[in-house]
Symmetry: none
Subunit: 192 residues, 4 copies
Amino acid sequence: MSGKEEKRAEILKAAARVFVEYGFDGAKIEDIAKAAGIGKGTVYEYFESKTDLFREMLRNSVEEYRQALAEKIAQGRDIREKILNCSQYSTRFLSENLDMLEMAWQASTLMSKETRTWLIEEKLSIFRLLEDMVKDGVARAELRQGLEPELAVFSILGTIHQYYGKKVFLDEAAPEKLDHEAVVDVILNGLK
Amino acid sequence: MSGKEEKRAEILKAAARVFVEYGFDGAKIEDIAKAAGIGKGTVYEYFESKTDLFREMLRNSVEEYRQALAEKIAQGRDIREKILNCSQYSTRFLSENLDMLEMAWQASTLMSKETRTWLIEEKLSIFRLLEDMVKDGVARAELRQGLEPELAVFSILGTIHQYYGKKVFLDEAAPEKLDHEAVVDVILNGLK
Amino acid sequence: MSGKEEKRAEILKAAARVFVEYGFDGAKIEDIAKAAGIGKGTVYEYFESKTDLFREMLRNSVEEYRQALAEKIAQGRDIREKILNCSQYSTRFLSENLDMLEMAWQASTLMSKETRTWLIEEKLSIFRLLEDMVKDGVARAELRQGLEPELAVFSILGTIHQYYGKKVFLDEAAPEKLDHEAVVDVILNGLK
Amino acid sequence: MSGKEEKRAEILKAAARVFVEYGFDGAKIEDIAKAAGIGKGTVYEYFESKTDLFREMLRNSVEEYRQALAEKIAQGRDIREKILNCSQYSTRFLSENLDMLEMAWQASTLMSKETRTWLIEEKLSIFRLLEDMVKDGVARAELRQGLEPELAVFSILGTIHQYYGKKVFLDEAAPEKLDHEAVVDVILNGLK
DNA sequence: GATGAATGAGCGTTCATTCAT
DNA sequence: AATGAATGAACGCTCATTCAT
């Protein structure tokens, strides 16, 4: 039956919510179980340990983000639209998953060498996703010749994340009120 | 006597090192005491609790960053040099304090409303510091007219932080090998 | 049908193996179920609880030992052969059931007053079995007149068990290499 | 100060009592702490883990037994008195430490290879202590020529332990009422 | 003021037992 | 009758905090 797989997914969802709200150490297994509507012991039928659960939750979330981002990029017709889609989707994802990605850093000591490597690979693959987008933009002459793709990615990801962090966290703006067009403008045109 | 104040400062320094290495929960008071070269009980002569110590350490570190950044900006002769100085200093600070700022987010549940407000204020003051720098650049015609200062700050801070995160964390590049000029270029000129 | 009774017996056999290998607390019901080739819940169709299962397993094993011992004694033609048979059989039983009898002591807190009484009775009946053997030997003048049967049993059981414990456990000798003749000699002739 | 060492010893004493009453798994750290008149956490200031505490308690108890036994043997003027002393002391020790030695077997899975080796060595050294006593008896012509010392030890230890087990455990006789003289007789003279 | 031994609340994890299928 | 997924009581262990010295 697929009930098994579904319950596992439910626990992962609950774990994401609780871990994100309280951090790794602050999150209690009992809270996660309660959030998933099950008993504490049941969590251990699906995951070996709190650390294991955290790792899987992270894999899950990062993978979801990466895949959706790839899709958003593919859907954009030109570089401007692609970056716009990234901005919109990232903002939505961040506001739902909060500091998931920040936690990824913080939690590095919890991970096996293998998992850490996987996570880095996953992050790099997000970088590469965007690098390819930039290279494509250069090839299509939508972006200037000689633009260093890696630097471009820093500008794109960094500006988007800062924008989100300031507006949603500090100013407590509603995510749907964000002006993604302006963000893309400053990325594309620079400050000068 | 200032011996009291000095010891307090020493504990804060030690706390910063240990918190940053192990995170809030992973850091043990005993470790911090050992790192400060004092007994465990002594920490409690200077701070009410672990949380209190964490808050004070954070205040301390953020304040140090803000002040140094202000100085670096003042020292730059034009906007390019100012941003360059920010990039260089931020990178140095981050590599020494690691995810201090990330921890700030994560730790928000540990803080009193008051402290959280203070921290937000402090972050905003960093934003404003850079906004003023941008406004000044626009006034001097070093940056284009009509540039939205807030957006400019997202680009500056975001690009610098991404650059640092990718190069130092993922690629494990030495902080002194970073090419800050290129970062400033992409910030100023955009991708087009 | 006797299928019910047979499965019960199978579980008891499996339980003996697992309890003996891991001890009462170390043995998991799931292990026992697996060893018996059945599902965990099925154990509870045949036994009320882990403690109950342990009790029954103990009864079973002790009863088996007592009966076999009685048979071995009956088969011996004179006192020497009887004791020899006891030594050989006890050694074989112990090496298969390990510290079953030791566990009996240790586990006394797990038992109801009733079961404890039964177990003591069972042990006493083993003592009596041997006492009768000794009395018979005295009557037949195979053993000296005036020999206190109870003391004789201490000598017989004690020497055999020590022999087994030292040779098999400490020296790791193979059970079939034991020199039971020599043991019987020292029991019969004493040290003087 | 020696207060540290004393408290350690107190905990070991309390641990011996509790372990012996409830077995390794049945004994709760909290019980041991309570028995020692201290808080739960304090146990961990002196011992790394429950297993460590158990090991140390065992070392302690076995060592105490071995040393006292050696002394008792030395004090006996002839072989009869030496064995008598062993019988009396062993009985006293066993009635105070109950099945400590049985627990040693049972607990073998809890021990590191090193500790297990040490325990076996310790047991062997008890065997050797008695073997030397026997050899000395043979040399002094108190025991018959050609007596196999190892077998003699089985007889001595085995008979004494059985005697104790039957009389004190099963018959619930008071330890001071035991007839050690009779035990020595049967050991020395055998059954014939 | 400085210390570190003592404490116990709190949490991760295990596993006997239950019960819906 | 047989199963194994679900449960939660129970316990080992950690560590922030206290307080006697």
